[in-house]
Symmetry: C2
Subunit: 197 residues, 2 copies
């Protein structure tokens, strides 16, 4: 049977552009017309491909998870030395000091502004948060078992999770760069080995 006219755009490329726009302007701040102009995709094609605006936002969230969160989780889980994995995770907070204009973390924004039951529900961001949390717990438990970590692994994991959202807000908000730098230093203190007795 006939396949019809082929698409003139790449789905993932369009999604990446939408991710950037949603991060910069938020769900309500991005109009469908603006997406068309920015991506060059026609209005009807957008609706054919992604459905309505809420679905479009969900697709962007999923794409952001694949391109931004998944690699981070993978690195956190795959680095052999658990304490090194955790320190690398924390070190990355400093990237929020180098955000381009309008840059940031889409999940953090979604969590911070999601209205319950609204069109841009934060369920996707919450799901990823729990995955990251689980990964952090795995690694802190391993580091603890290896004698590399002082204190309760689960407490430390949650402290790092919360700190990551804090860094995202501080960086996006344009607070002094020393804030993240210093917060990273203090988070690193949570990842020090037990004092020798």
């Amino acid at each position: 049977m006939a396949l019809g006219r082929p698409r003139q755009f790449e789905e993932n490329h369009v999604l990446d552009t939408m991710v950037r726009m949603f991060i910069r302007y938020g769900f309500e701040g991005v109009s469908i017309a603006a997406v068309c102009k920015e991506t060059g995709v026609s209005l009807q094609s957008l609706y054919n491909t992604f459905g309505d605006k809420a679905s479009l936002y969900q697709r962007a969230l999923a794409r952001y998870g694949e391109t931004a969160a998944d690699p981070m989780i993978a690195e956190l889980l795959n680095t052999e030395d658990p304490i090194k994995a955790l320190r690398d995770f924390v070190k990355k907070f400093e990237l929020y000091n180098e955000l381009p204009e309008g840059g940031g973390c889409l999940f953090t924004q979604s969590l911070a502004s999601a209205v319950g039951g609204g069109p841009c529900d934060g369920a996707a961001a919450r799901s990823y948060a729990n995955r990251i949390r689980k990964a952090l717990r795995d690694r802190t438990r391993q580091a603890h078992a290896a004698g590399q970590l002082d204190g309760d692994p689960e407490l430390i994991a949650d402290a790092l999770l919360a700190a990551s959202y804090g860094a995202a807000v501080v960086g996006r908000g344009g607070l002094p760069k020393a804030v993240i730098k210093n917060a990273v230093k203090e988070s690193m203190k949570l990842l020090e080995p037990p004092a020798k007795s």
Copy 2:
């Protein structure tokens, strides 16, 4: 001379309602018509009193600072024992676990979603962040001088500042309550006295 017809609303009461609405729905998610319906104030009166929507948002930010941030800063600065002041500050993070539906911190939301140069610029939230930061530094320095604090006071102050934004996001986003609880416990560890040698 004549004073004209007196107002049928209290400015601060209207602002408080708008603060609640902006926290819940965000800048773009609140329509002027919705504000009129919610506050009972007529459209023209809103424009006469507050100006356009951007000014209205700025007024709401200012009001939020007066009612929410100022008392917190005051308590942080006025509690005699510096280490107690800091611990009370951190303990309050747990309030983000008890947010009403659609509740949250307007400053955190503003920092996380402010678009540069847009109508809802994050300057007010940034200004308050710096005030809180300064207050935290003052108190950590005092605690350090009093021998109540181990580690660099400025680093600890920034770690607490970032942690507070993280807690706001975690609470608003509806992550498990253990996250904030555990993050608070770990933040408290930064506020422990030096080990006796």
